[in-house]
C-alpha cells in the first residue's frame, strides 16, 4: 500500500513537472481554481448578502447605481449589490455545472464501457440510443423536458431538475470516446490472458480496462464540465433557472428582463457574462491540455515505447 502511495506521489510529481511547462494549461487551471475559491469563500468576499438592498442616506434603495464605494459592481434594479450576486451565483453555477458534468461523465463512461466491452447487441443498442440523442436538437428538448418536469409538481428543487436533465443528455460524446478506447484495449492479449486465468467480466473491466481509460475519463470530465456550465447558463438565461437561487445565467435573465440594457446599466449584464467565459475558458484550456497529456493518441510519446501507453509523459528511463 505504502509502495503504491509513493508511486502515486511520484507520478503526480512527474505530472506536475510536465504540466507546469504548459502555459495554457496553467492559465486554465488558474481560471478554474479562482472560480472555485471565490465560490467557496463567498461570505468572506462580499460586503452584503446578495439579497440585501443598498440604501442611500434617505433610506431609499439605490437602483441601477453604477460601480462606486457602495458596491464594487454597482446595483441592480432593486438596489441589490451585483458583486455579491456574482460571487454567490458562482456557487450555483459551479454546483449545477459540476454535478451535471459528473452525471454525464458517469453515464457516458458506464455506457461507453459496456458498449465497447460487450460489443454485439449491447453495443448496437447503446450506440443507436446515442445516435438518437445526438441528432435531436438539444436546446428545444431540454426546454420541453425542464418545463414539463417543473409542471409535474415532483417536489424536486428546480436546480435538481436542471442537473438531471443536463447530466442525462450530455453523455453521448463521452460514451463514444470511451467506447472506442475500450474497443482497442479489449483486443489486447492481456485481456485474453485475464480470461484464461479465470477472471469474470467484472474483474477484467475493473482491473484491466478501467485503469487504462481512467486518464481519458479525467481529461474528458473537465471538458464536459465546461459544457454543463454553459448549458446551465443558457437554460437559466431563458428563465429555467431557480429565481430564488440565482446563477450567472439567472442574473443575465434578470438583467434583460429588467431592461438593464435600456438603462445603460452595463455593470448588470457584463459581469455574469465575463464570469461564464472565465470558467468555461478555464475548463476548456485545462481539459485540452489534460487530454493532450493523458491521451496516448494525441502524443508522439507512445511511439517511443509501447509500454507507457497511458503513463504520464516522462523522460526518465529506468
Amino acid at each position: 500500500m505504502n509502495e503504491n502511495w509513493t508511486l502515486f506521489m511520484r507520478n503526480l510529481r512527474d505530472f506536475w513537472r510536465a504540466f507546469r511547462r504548459n502555459k495554457l494549461g496553467l492559465l486554465g487551471g488558474f481560471l478554474v481554481l479562482t472560480a472555485i475559491i471565490v465560490a467557496v469563500c463567498a461570505p468572506l468576499l462580499t460586503p452584503y448578502a446578495p439579497t440585501d438592498v443598498i440604501r442611500d442616506a434617505n433610506g431609499r434603495g439605490m437602483t441601477f447605481a453604477p460601480p462606486s464605494v457602495h458596491g464594487p459592481l454597482g446595483t441592480d434594479d432593486a438596489g441589490r449589490d451585483i458583486w455579491s450576486q456574482l460571487v454567490y451565483g458562482a456557487r450555483i453555477s459551479l454546483t449545477v455545472g459540476f454535478l451535471a458534468g459528473f452525471i454525464a461523465m458517469f453515464v457516458g463512461s458506464l455506457l461507453g464501457t459496456l458498449a465497447g466491452y460487450f460489443g454485439g447487441r449491447v453495443d448496437n443498442l447503446l450506440m443507436r440510443i446515442t445516435d438518437v440523442l445526438l441528432v435531436i436538437p438539444d436546446l428545444p428538448l431540454m426546454l420541453v423536458l425542464v418545463a414539463t418536469l417543473r409542471q409535474m409538481d415532483l417536489h424536486i428543487s428546480p436546480l435538481a431538475v436542471l442537473i438531471a436533465v443536463i447530466g442525462l443528455l450530455y453523455w453521448t460524446s463521452t460514451a463514444r470516446l470511451i467506447r472506442s478506447q475500450v474497443l482497442t484495449i479489449k483486443e489486447r492479449q492481456f485481456v485474453d490472458r485475464a480470461r484464461a486465468i479465470g477472471a469474470g467480466h467484472a474483474h477484467i473491466v475493473r482491473k484491466h480496462i478501467l485503469p487504462q481509460i481512467m486518464p481519458l475519463i479525467v481529461a474528458n470530465t473537465v471538458l464536459v464540465l465546461s459544457i454543463a456550465i454553459l448549458v446551465e447558463s443558457g437554460l437559466a438565461f431563458l428563465g429555467l433557472g431557480d429565481p430564488t437561487k440565482p446563477s450567472w445565467g439567472t442574473m443575465l435573465n434578470f438583467a434583460f428582463d429588467r431592461s438593464a440594457v435600456a438603462n445603460g446599466a452595463w455593470w448588470f449584464y457584463l459581469p455574469p457574462g465575463f464570469a461564464i467565459v472565465w470558467v468555461t475558458l478555464g475548463c476548456v484550456l485545462l481539459g485540452n491540455v489534460l487530454e493532450e497529456m493523458l491521451n496516448p493518441r494525441l502524443t508522439a510519446h507512445h511511439l517511443e515505447g509501447d509500454q507507457n501507453m497511458i503513463a504520464i509523459p516522462k523522460q526518465r528511463v529506468e
Partner: protein, 340 residues
C-alpha cells in the same frame, strides 16, 4: 497406457463465422489424449488449427468462434457441457496457458508480481501476505530474483517475461499446461533456457504439457507424443519416436525433410551441401478447403482419390505392439480404427 488420460479431446470441430455469412471450419474431427505428466506436441504450419485447438479446449474462442461438435474430457468431465462460470473455475486451476508472445499477454501497467498474484487470488482464498509469499516462491522457481517482482513488464527482458508467464501459469498448480509457441520471438539461447525450464518444472511438478510449435527440433527434444495437424485436421498422431523415425503421412515426411538434420548432412552418400526440401504452396484457406484430402493440392504423391474423398485415420503401428501410430492418407494400408 492403462491410466486414464488427463485430457482427452474427441472429434472436436470448431467453426468461425466470417463476414458475408461465410463459415471457416478451423478444426474438424480432432482427437487426441494427454496422459498425466506427459508432453504432447502439436505441430503444423501456421493456420493449421494448433492455437485454435488450445483455445477450444479452454473455451476461450473469440466471439465469432463456435465449437460445433465433439467433446473435451478433463479427468472424465466434459468441459464443453459446463456453464461459463463453472468453466472459469477450471481455467488456471486445472489448466493454464502460456501465450504466444509474453509481452502482449502481460498488462503493461501492472507490476509483474501483482499480475501473478491476481491469478492466485482469483482462485485461492488467501490473504495478500500469503499470496505474496506464493509469488516469491513461483518467481524463485523460474529463476527471477525476488527484487524484481515490483517491476513492470517493459523492465523485463524477453526471456524473463516468458519466465514470468511460466511462473504465472504455475500459480494455481495446474495439472495441465498449454504452451502456445512459448519460444517464438526469443533468441536461440533464451529459447533453450525456456525449454529447459519447462522440462525442469515438468519433472518437479509432474504436470502434463501440450506444446504448440512449428519447431520440430523442439518436439523431438521435449515430447512423448506428437499430433501433426494440417488444415484443421489431424494428419498423423503417435509417439514421438514413431512419428520421427517412421513418418507415414506425406505431409509429416516433407515437414521432417524440410528441417536441417545434422546426421543427414554428414552422410557422404547423401551428399553434403544438399538443398533442404520444401513443400510448395501454402496451407488451404479454411473457408475454401479443397475437396478430398486437404493436403492433396500440395502432395507429391497425390492420386485421383485424394482429391475426391477425405481419408480416415488408420493405425500404422505393428499389430500387437500395443503402440498406436495413426495417419490419415489413402496410400497407407493400416488397420481401420474403431475410435481413438
Amino acid at each position: 497406457m492403462s491410466t486414464q488420460p488427463l485430457l482427452s479431446v474427441r472429434h472436436l470441430t470448431t467453426e468461425f463465422h466470417l463476414a458475408d455469412k461465410q463459415v471457416a471450419r478451423a478444426l474438424e474431427d480432432v482427437s487426441f489424449d494427454v496422459m498425466p505428466g506427459q508432453t504432447i506436441g502439436l505441430v503444423g504450419e501456421s493456420g493449421c488449427g494448433k492455437t485454435t485447438t488450445l483455445m477450444s479446449v479452454m473455451r476461450l474462442l473469440p466471439a465469432n468462434g463456435r465449437i460445433t461438435s465433439g467433446n473435451v474430457y478433463f479427468r472424465g468431465n466434459d468441459l464443453l457441457t459446463l456453464r461459463e462460470y463453472e468453466m472459469r473455475l477450471h481455467r488456471w486451476k486445472d489448466m493454464a496457458i502460456i501465450f504466444q508472445g509474453a509481452m502482449n499477454a502481460l498488462n503493461p501497467v501492472i507490476k509483474i508480481g501483482d499480475q501473478i498474484r491476481e491469478a492466485i487470488l482469483l482462485h485461492d482464498l488467501m490473504d495478500h501476505d500469503a499470496a505474496d509469499y506464493r509469488v516469491d516462491e513461483l518467481l524463485e522457481l523460474v529463476g527471477i530474483p525476488r527484487a524484481r517482482r515490483g517491476q513492470y513488464p517493459h523492465q523485463y527482458s524477453g526471456g524473463m517475461r516468458q519466465r514470468a508467464m511460466i511462473a504465472m501459469a504455475l500459480a494455481c498448480s495446474p495439472s495441465l499446461l498449454f504452451a502456445d509457441e512459448p519460444t517464438t520471438a526469443l533468441d536461440v539461447m533464451i529459447q533453450a533456457q525456456v525449454l529447459e525450464l519447462l522440462k525442469e518444472i515438468q519433472k518437479k511438478l509432474g504436470l502434463a504439457i501440450v506444446l504448440v510449435t512449428h519447431d520440430l527440433g523442439v518436439v523431438a527434444e521435449m515430447c512423448d507424443s506428437v499430433v501433426v495437424m494440417y488444415g484443421g485436421k489431424v494428419a498423423e498422431y503417435g509417439s514421438a519416436e514413431l512419428v520421427y523415425n517412421q513418418p507415414q503421412h506425406p505431409y509429416t515426411q516433407r515437414l521432417l525433410e524440410s528441417f536441417p538434420d545434422l546426421n543427414r548432412s554428414t552422410d557422404p552418400s547423401a551428399g553434403s551441401g544438399q538443398d533442404l526440401a520444401t513443400i510448395p504452396g501454402t496451407p488451404p484457406r479454411l473457408n475454401a478447403l479443397p475437396p478430398g484430402c486437404r493436403f492433396s493440392p500440395r502432395c507429391y504423391k497425390s492420386v485421383e482419390i485424394c482429391t475426391q474423398i477425405a481419408p480416415n485415420l488408420v493405425d500404422m503401428a505393428t499389430p500387437g505392439s500395443g503402440a498406436r501410430h495413426l495417419a490419415a492418407c489413402h496410400l497407407l494400408n493400416g488397420t481401420e480404427i474403431e475410435d481413438l
